[in-house]
Assembly symmetry: D2
């Protein structure tokens, strides 16, 4: 399956007085890219929620390499880094579209909850489990 | 009853590349001040919601007089401008604490909904109705 | 000239605990649409700033008709409502793309500053002045 | 020196449709706490900037333990975890004020730039260098 990077521009209100995008906003771009990624795969997070499963963020991290300026167009590429049924780690790269320069990288770690309790997707949702497994293998 | 203005500082992430607080944030400050105002009155919005009544924002407006800079301390003063049971209009003044200079003024208009339908607070919640009425009268 | 509405999705982080987009975010969508509008016209705000002219928001307003939910696709359409060289008023309509239902309308009022002082664009930037004039006339 | 934790409430606009504070906002709370911490120490970041030194965020991370709800009062406690003149790592703990329950922990890594180039604070600003050194030692 051919997944394209998530594309968007840096908005004016996302800049701070240093004249660049405030560092907290990249965490939000990761989320936008994650949602878009699942949409492209045909299994949006909304469908997971319809099955009664929520997938909260357990931890996030972000390393800043180069700042993004207002109106610059970026590409955010998410990858499945790790998945074992219980834990999902997604990696992100943010690059300036025009130059390909990497601006930041990061990752988000997720678990899966049913009624507030951690579950394994293997049992809770085989189709999402299959999807995440196939995404890891295809990258090996 | 003695209501004190809501006090807070301008945060770094609230500035934009013009070097001042982005204009959208004042709408959020109005909300913070509105919540604080009701808390001081002893009837927080949460209590209204406990009675099954929500009070969505129907419209907002804001006039910008002078920009606020990072780390400046401001006072936000809300006033009940109009109330008739069905409609509530709250006015706001944002002033630099140190100088008293007015930075912006604005207002938010609210209605009251039970199960998604507009209601009059006169019937739906006499104690909130009394409160809003007393706040208008005390200012006349 | 054929201007297309600005299109975007509602992001997860833009929702609040009512389960809909928080009212403050529409002000930011107006800005995104305004920037896109000028880009489409070939005269981005960045070019105005290159001429030493900034165009701050003097006031904004927004009326909320219907809430937008996470992942809904919206179209934001800006129109030049008023322009006289000194003052520019832009009107916005936000509609759900799929249904055409209007979610909110609003406007932003702008002035033009050189070195912090109000100027008329007639003298300060004839090409922007011509552009704004043509946009009003074309709508009459 | 007696440093008190940074105290604030969770705002309505900081919640998302899960009914809790959106995970990106904690990164902003870290910044608020960091600014407050330096203010309490008598050496605000603004003074560092006056000396021509900026201190950008090189990386951040955050682990989420328990969600924070609207209107809950939290305490954010920053600690200097590591400092060697070139690199500064600040650790944060966010706790519910009423219960003391830890909601999240995280850290931010900073470098120091003069004219866009990395410098050592030992030379660039002895008083900030002394401050950060004393903060590490006092915790050992």
């Amino acid at each position: 399956m051919n997944i394209v990077p998530y594309e968007r521009k840096a908005h004016y209100y996302e800049t701070d007085q240093m004249g660049v995008v405030h560092h907290s906003n990249y965490i939000r771009w990761f989320e936008e890219a994650r949602v878009d990624f699942m949409d492209q795969l045909g299994l949006p997070f909304a469908k997971l929620e319809e099955e009664g499963i929520i997938s909260p963020v357990v931890s996030i991290s972000c390393s800043y390499k180069q700042s993004v300026k207002f109106d610059q167009r970026v590409l955010v590429s998410p990858y499945i880094k790790e998945y074992n049924g219980i834990k999902l780690i997604i990696e992100y790269k943010v690059a300036i579209k025009e130059t390909g320069v990497i601006c930041c990288t990061g990752e988000s770690k997720h678990c899966f909850l049913v009624d507030g309790r951690p579950v394994s997707l293997k049992k809770a949702s085989p189709r999402f489990d299959n999807l995440f497994n196939s995404l890891i293998k295809s990258e090996e």
